[in-house]
C-alpha cells in the first residue's frame, strides 16, 4: 500500500460543498471546483490525467529524478485537495494548482540540493558549448555586419519526420535550465497560453517571453546540429 506523504498533516474533515466564494472564476473552473469539493472521483481523475505530464515536467525542474518528481506531484495533490476549501478563485484553477506544485517541488528540491547532480543545475552559459552550425558575420564586416555568414542549412521534411528528431527535442528540453524548461513545456508541449503560464509561474509576460525564446532557440539549434549530422 503506497504511503501518501502529507505535508500539512491535517485531519480536518472537509465539508462537502462548502467553500470560499468563487465569483471571479470562469464557469468551467467553478464547476470543477464544486465537483471536487463534493468528492467527485471522475472529475478528479480527469483533471489528473489532463495535467499529469505537465506537472511531472515542471516538478522535474526542481528535483533530481523522475521518481522524486512523481512524489512531488503526489504531495502537490494532497496540498491541492486540502487547499480546495479555502481556494478563492482569484486566479484560474490550473494556475493555482501549479503554484502549489512548484512550492512542493521547491521544498523537496531544496532538501535534496546536496545530492542533485550537476546536470540538473545547468546554468545558461553551459549551452554555448555546442559547436555552432550557423554563424554571423562580425561587426567589422565590410558589407553585412550581423548577417548570416553560414546560414541555416535547409531541413528536409523527411529529416523532421524522423522519430529521432522527437527524442532529440525531448533530450534537449531535459537539458534546459529549469525556468526555461518549465516555460517551454507549458507553452509548447502542453499548449498553455502565455497569461496562464505567467500566472502559474508568477512571472511577467516579458520575462516569460525571454525564457521561452531562449528555450526554443536552444532546442532549434540542437535539432539543427542533429539534422546536419545526417547529411553527407
Amino acid at each position: 500500500m503506497p504511503t501518501v506523504v502529507s505535508p500539512r498533516g491535517s485531519l480536518k474533515e472537509p465539508e462537502a460543498t462548502h467553500g470560499a466564494d468563487l465569483a471571479q472564476l470562469p464557469p468551467e473552473d467553478r464547476t470543477l471546483v464544486d465537483r471536487l469539493r463534493a468528492g467527485d472521483e471522475a472529475t478528479f481523475l480527469a483533471i489528473v490525467e489532463k495535467n499529469h505530464w505537465a506537472m511531472i515536467r515542471v516538478a522535474r525542474g526542481y528535483v533530481a529524478s523522475e521518481g522524486v518528481a512523481e512524489e512531488v506531484v503526489q504531495d502537490a495533490w494532497v496540498g491541492i485537495l486540502q487547499g480546495l476549501e479555502k481556494f478563492e478563485g482569484r486566479c484560474p484553477l490550473r494556475a493555482w494548482m501549479f503554484r502549489i506544485l512548484i512550492n512542493c517541488a521547491k521544498m523537496r528540491g531544496g532538501r535534496e540540493a546536496r545530492s542533485v547532480p550537476f546536470s540538473a543545475l545547468e546554468s545558461e552559459s553551459s549551452g554555448g558549448e555546442q559547436r555552432p552550425v550557423e554563424t554571423f558575420r562580425p561587426p567589422d564586416d565590410p558589407r553585412w555586419p550581423g548577417h548570416w555568414a553560414r546560414g541555416p542549412e535547409r531541413w528536409t521534411e523527411e529529416r523532421l519526420a524522423d522519430a529521432e528528431a522527437l527524442s532529440r527535442i525531448r533530450a534537449e528540453i531535459e537539458k534546459l535550465p529549469p525556468n526555461q524548461r518549465q516555460v517551454m513545456t507549458l507553452r509548447d508541449i502542453e499548449d498553455w497560453d502565455s497569461a496562464e503560464v505567467c500566472e502559474a509561474l508568477g512571472i511577467s509576460e516579458a520575462n516569460q517571453r525571454v525564457l521561452l525564446h531562449r528555450a526554443r532557440t536552444r532546442v532549434r539549434q540542437a535539432l539543427a546540429i542533429w539534422a546536419a549530422e545526417g547529411t553527407p
Partner: protein, 85 residues
C-alpha cells in the same frame, strides 16, 4: 565605408526577436522591418521555418496516458482526503 541601410535589421537581431514576432508583441515599425527582412533574406526565412517546425514538433511530445500505478496512488490520496485523512 557605408554599409547596409540603417533601417534594415541584421539577421543576428532578427533571430533574437523571433518569439516576440510570432507572439505579435513587436510594435508596428519593428514588425514591418522583420517582415521586410524576411522578404530579402533566404537565410532568415529558413531560420523562421526551422523555428516554427521546432515548435510544431515539440507539440507532439504531449503525452496523454496516466500510468496505472500513478492513477491508483492519486485515487487513494483523493479518497483519503474525502474521508478526512
Amino acid at each position: 565605408m557605408s554599409t547596409a541601410r540603417r533601417q534594415d535589421i541584421a539577421c543576428r537581431e532578427l533571430v533574437e526577436i523571433l518569439t516576440e514576432f510570432l507572439e505579435g508583441a513587436l510594435d508596428e515599425q519593428l514588425r514591418t522591418r522583420v517582415e521586410q527582412h524576411l522578404v530579402l533574406c533566404p537565410g532568415c526565412r529558413e531560420y523562421l521555418r526551422q523555428f516554427r517546425a521546432t515548435i510544431g514538433a515539440t507539440r507532439k511530445l504531449a503525452e496523454e496516458d496516466l500510468p496505472p500505478r500513478v492513477r491508483e496512488n492519486l485515487l487513494n490520496a483523493f479518497r483519503d482526503w474525502r474521508h478526512g485523512g
